[in-house]
Symmetry: C2
Subunit: 202 residues, 2 copies
Amino acid sequence: MARRTGRRPGNPDTRQAILDAARAAFAERGFDGASIRAVAAAAQVDPALVHHYFGSKDRLFLAAMHAPVDPAELLPSVLAGDRAGLGERLVRTFLGVWDSPAGTAGVALLRSAVSNEWTARLLREFLVTQVLRRVLDQLDVDPAELPLRGSLVASQMIGLAVMRYVVRLEPVASAAPETLVTAVGPTVQRYLTGDLAEVFAG
Amino acid sequence: MARRTGRRPGNPDTRQAILDAARAAFAERGFDGASIRAVAAAAQVDPALVHHYFGSKDRLFLAAMHAPVDPAELLPSVLAGDRAGLGERLVRTFLGVWDSPAGTAGVALLRSAVSNEWTARLLREFLVTQVLRRVLDQLDVDPAELPLRGSLVASQMIGLAVMRYVVRLEPVASAAPETLVTAVGPTVQRYLTGDLAEVFAG
DNA sequence: GTCTATATTCCGATAGAC
DNA sequence: GTCTATCGGAATATAGAC
């Protein structure tokens, strides 16, 4: 029979449990509102362990945001296919991710970015370099128009996310994904490839 | 010559100074992030005075949100005029308010609602009862479609506000108001009066 | 009306025993 | 690897002197 002394088991899943709890906490209360102590309690570990693994709250947040979903993997299938369906495919993929467990990271980043400049920069850079740039590069429009087109798309998609997942305004909060795809897809399509001559004439 | 003893002057503007400082603080950091102590420091009064005037942080927030702008006064001129221009007029009025000093209250409510369920309810009720209901009542569409149309409008407008005033994604953050009116107006118009048969067929 | 002082609670981070 | 103990700070709110 093994001796009972020596190091406590040291569950190798502890680190992952902390990450999962952190993601959930940041999604519920945002970066500032979530506390390391609450994360530790949810993961059933000591608060000091969290520091031991991740060093600081900032680094814990970054670790919790990592990996759950990579636009580089999702976007190619969105960009393939007819140009006219791009808006709907983008909204469909967007909702698919946010409605899944991986969407927790999105809610966490969004909630944090609104009250914390550091995470706001993170969101901006994610949007611009990981999402918008990949999508806009495929379009056949005046390159000078791309930044505004991109931020219009972001406005509509982030607005949808805020209403559906954060503020929870009905009926958008509970609508079937395909309902929103049909409703919002054409908006995104127009921002991406529509004729915005009037806009740029101003 | 008046006696120098007796009560200290007691500036009658003190209360208003606290309210202005509170609105600015809530706009910058949200409800949870703003502290009564910071509000008091900005207003150059003692923190205990804030409690004396307003009783609690909740009531201070409510007082700071009051009055700066009333949709009941703004919307009639938006609703008057041709139906086809409704979307653009709505966006124009929206941006006019948010770009003005009164917009501070909007940013404060928005920033707070994202990290605080209590203020989120406040935002939902403001949107539904003060804004959307007034606008939707004027439309000539199937009443069963109104809730979804309304929350789609809210998604686009709040998304625009989040990107322009909170996350500050360029170029939307610095764009001329009329540029955004021309870009986003048609989206709002479609959500309000457009043919969404496909959406409701789902 | 105004301010000092404080009760109470919670935070992130660190040092060091085991 | 894990946990106890604690440092240093900041928060809301209240009691009560002047």
